[in-house]
Symmetry: D3
Subunit: 134 residues, 6 copies
Amino acid sequence: MKLTRRYRFCASHRLDVPQLSAEENRRLYGKCNNPYGHGHDYVLDVTVEGPIDETGQVADRVKLDEWVSAKVLQQIDHKNLSNEVIGLKDSVATTENLAKLIGDSLAEDWPLVARLRRVRIMETDRNIFELEMA
Amino acid sequence: MKLTRRYRFCASHRLDVPQLSAEENRRLYGKCNNPYGHGHDYVLDVTVEGPIDETGQVADRVKLDEWVSAKVLQQIDHKNLSNEVIGLKDSVATTENLAKLIGDSLAEDWPLVARLRRVRIMETDRNIFELEMA
Amino acid sequence: MKLTRRYRFCASHRLDVPQLSAEENRRLYGKCNNPYGHGHDYVLDVTVEGPIDETGQVADRVKLDEWVSAKVLQQIDHKNLSNEVIGLKDSVATTENLAKLIGDSLAEDWPLVARLRRVRIMETDRNIFELEMA
Amino acid sequence: MKLTRRYRFCASHRLDVPQLSAEENRRLYGKCNNPYGHGHDYVLDVTVEGPIDETGQVADRVKLDEWVSAKVLQQIDHKNLSNEVIGLKDSVATTENLAKLIGDSLAEDWPLVARLRRVRIMETDRNIFELEMA
Amino acid sequence: MKLTRRYRFCASHRLDVPQLSAEENRRLYGKCNNPYGHGHDYVLDVTVEGPIDETGQVADRVKLDEWVSAKVLQQIDHKNLSNEVIGLKDSVATTENLAKLIGDSLAEDWPLVARLRRVRIMETDRNIFELEMA
Amino acid sequence: MKLTRRYRFCASHRLDVPQLSAEENRRLYGKCNNPYGHGHDYVLDVTVEGPIDETGQVADRVKLDEWVSAKVLQQIDHKNLSNEVIGLKDSVATTENLAKLIGDSLAEDWPLVARLRRVRIMETDRNIFELEMA
């Protein structure tokens, strides 16, 4: 049985690779290269998997929410991903890199019996990123 | 080719394990332990899989809808899951247990050529449960 | 300038008028007359109106949220509307009556400068109730 | 890492198998057999999968959008699927057959490094079709 | 108190004014001028207004649904608006004209105590039409 | 007849009133006061009203889209509202002030026969701002 919990956060970012020319950055990222940054309302789906326990649940929601809040939401909600988020400062703040950072952060010292199976981020309703966890 | 049909139903429930203390039940289920119950508008996605037949379809929608209606919707729509639904009376009416009951009910004597592949229930837009069928 | 804030709550209810016969109640309310009750995920939109103040806002969100929480959400979230909610116990717990109760509760001692203009409840995505406030 | 991009198009169709009787066609397809046709707003999700490259992306969005536009949207958007779309003229214009046509069209001479993994079409919010790509 | 009920239908149409040149029709309606037609999933919201009656309701849902079904849905669902719908055959099947036709059809011999207040059609999630009823 | 067209844009902002203390700014705007800014996906609804013309339309969509694009979207899409948008630089970039700026920009030299009636912005699905135009 899989359980997916949905979380929301908003953040700003700017897509820019320092090693590339200004022109190439504009071609690659379009309006997302705007120097002043822009932002999104992100939707984050965290999926865990396991058997149903004696309380009729796959996972304790309170514990799951606390973990996601401590490891992810408190680090990135209402933040500038390009300037403020450790782990994204040295790379481009694309949602691909953000998804990888979130997956890694959640997986480290994972505290639940149910396994972490998937991290999915909807940057907008047109761009959805999905990372299956090993 | 997979086809997912979406159904909706509403129901009430109360989450409570008789073997546990009142305090532990409150900690586990929070407001969902309220003795008078509460309710949700559930969304149910049923996914079948198979080749495309000569009518250009994976499955006959009329037959699939009749099956889901007879085996699931007529049993649980506008019902109190904790008091009225056979198969949930002796367990906690969590959506995990409900998903399992729905998967088992649909699978028994499954009448279509296309295979039953997945049952997914959205309890709210924050809690999604998914059961892959063997 | 109007500001609408959206809130969510879930609750159960049963539609039944004691003065009417069982048959008439069934005809009037259909499956909503089920004696054991059923439930919904309700969406509540509260609209206030006023000029933009020096902070660039129509209303202080913190104060508005506290008011809606104290006067409405804490009274009805995860409750059985027919049995537990004062102000609905003696009437039918239709969403019309619930909307009126919510409008009256919010309006009494209204603490903000911006005026309360509208209360809207979506019982399901097919049934929407709207009350303009005087 | 998987990236899903969402596209929209609208089209009309009529479901009818010439080899079957009028009565059988009506039973099979119901109102979708109406001789004058009807239509839908379709949502198309295209999923690609691959490692994150040095630009922090799974795939170049501009190139992906150009490919989907050239191979799919320009062929079917605002079209009559039963009469105008090559590849559907000789079969029934069900969404199953449309999904297969879209998958085949995208896969032929696929120009990106990231692999094409999945094509999903929502005909309405009740009928969702999914094709995993080999 | 206002009650809004939501209905759905799908239909196809072609936008074309016979008195105008082919070129002007293409400029005016763009891809919607395609001779073979195209289609949409329409959402129809019907709003009625009145006092709450002794059953706790603004209007009897069964009666309202029957009226909308008889006067509107049975005439246009799964139809070709340009060729099959009386009242649109002699005009362009824009959603503006469709909204007017629906408003007129509903208002004629309106059978409920609650007043018909508004007809709203969402052609797509980008085009919304609203008609206040006198 | 009213026509509402829906547009989308994303942007970042920071809420801060220079005349107020840092502490008061934090109390007023909470996480929205974060110095590095954050962002949203905004939805903009523009409503026009008028009679149906001989083309069956309230307004020419091409002209309306061009106007909204030139006067609004090109000025604010993928921008930092607090630093880059003329008309917001000297005030707080709340969505109230943004809505007023958009209403004023659209109304100046309004080029359509149909009247501009309403500007509505959804900052998130919980915060909706509406401005009726005179």
